[in-house]
Subunit: 214 residues, 2 copies
DNA sequence: GGGCACGCTAAGCGAGCGCTCACCCTTGCC
DNA sequence: GGCAAGGGTGAGCGCTCGCTTAGCGTGCCC
């Protein structure tokens, strides 16, 4: 019933910046455990065990269990902002950029489901101070997507009445992938990304531009 | 077993069927607490306290803390199925029925956010047996929405390539409302329901048959 | 080669957890 | 009035939690 150690493959490694090797192993173990059972149901003994260490080792690298969640959440949100920012500031029409933003954001949620789950669903487990910081990053996420949609509306490519509401819905659709996506299911992250990009273009009324790519 | 009034006030009272009054108060307190802090972070002392009782009183009406979650989850899922089934089996075109299904489902998630949060996000906290039972109800939820979309495709009203994928996306969009909706925010459940019904009709390519927007 | 900083462990602390138990109130029936 | 039944309580059990502390092994610097 235990998972083999697969460091490569589905999950990218945005944790390269976590410098002492033991600290990174602990962080990775925490991501796994939090994603599987949730923050509150995860014990520090479990995290340390997954990292092959004694329970006390955790406190050499992190002050509290919450600091682990905070670090994971910040790194994950920064990655999310980076993904959307790259797509938003690329060359091309708003239609193309929105499609790229959605598909890459969805691929991240599906492929790195363990990380994305923690990032998206454990925010409330943070203390007030840490939560406030993370909420700032979330506003950046919202702003990137809203920016693309606003541009598309200005250029006449999109037909959107409620820009903020549609932005919320687009992000909501992408984020919920982390809840239901199953690695052993019938769809690859790439397939879901492509499907969702198509659905989102329909949502913003961008169906008329370009050929129906399928 | 039919409730006279449903789509009114914020939180309906689907807990009328919980028979001893004290048991209902405990259930309601548990819904509140689970929604606020999550199942694992909620203590039985907190639940009993919210219901104005001593910690021991809980165990007169429920065998364990998990039984509370199980009961909440089953009743909530049954309500969700009922909402979608009512919309799916009503009179009218698939377009109209899909719009009604989405808007009523969204209103339920937004208006009864506390309940919906527990129902949608605490499934993994259930034991294997209870979880299997609830998953059966989720399959019914999926089937109702898929049924409407299939009908719309057959009748030519909808233009959908991947029916199952689109069904998943529609449900996903609705469910995620429970995560982000804020009672003190700028939108009412009715407004979100109307917006989302519009967006979903666009997703299934039903834009041409109906009025431009609501 | 001796001192020492550092990464780590074994053991365990106080607190709070889910849950139990002995007992106390009402209520209703005779 | 006697008394069984059942909803409720105060106290507390056994356990596990997050986290601490004393001490050990190893590698580096002088």
């Amino acid at each position: 019933m235990s998972t083999a150690e697969e460091t490569s493959g589905a999950e990218a490694q945005p944790w390269g910046e976590v410098t002492p090797d033991a600290a990174r192993r602990l962080l990775l173990a925490a991501v796994e455990a939090f994603a599987e059972r949730g923050y509150h149901a995860t014990t520090t003994r479990d995290i340390a065990g997954r990292a092959g260490m004694s329970p006390a080792a955790l406190y050499i690298h992190y002050k509290t269990k919450e600091e682990l969640l905070h670090r994971i959440s910040r790194i994950g949100h920064e990655k999310a902002v980076a993904i959307l920012r790259t797509a938003a500031r690329a060359e091309g029409t708003p239609t193309r950029r929105l499609a790229e933003a959605v598909s890459s954001f969805v691929r991240w949620h599906a492929g790195g489901r363990t990380t994305a789950r923690v990032v998206q669903y454990e925010l409330d487990s943070l203390g007030a101070e840490a939560r406030a910081e993370i909420l700032g990053l979330r506003r950046q996420v919202d702003a990137e997507v809203r920016g693309i949609i606003e541009e598309g509306v200005r250029s006449g490519e999109f037909d959107v009445v409620d820009v903020q509401g549609t932005t919320l819905a687009v992000l909501s659709l992408c984020i919920d992938v982390a809840r239901w996506f199953n690695v052993d299911g019938p769809r690859t992250p790439e397939e879901v990304g492509a499907l969702y990009a198509d659905l989102v273009l329909r949502m913003v009324g961008a169906g008329e531009t370009g050929p129906a790519q399928r």
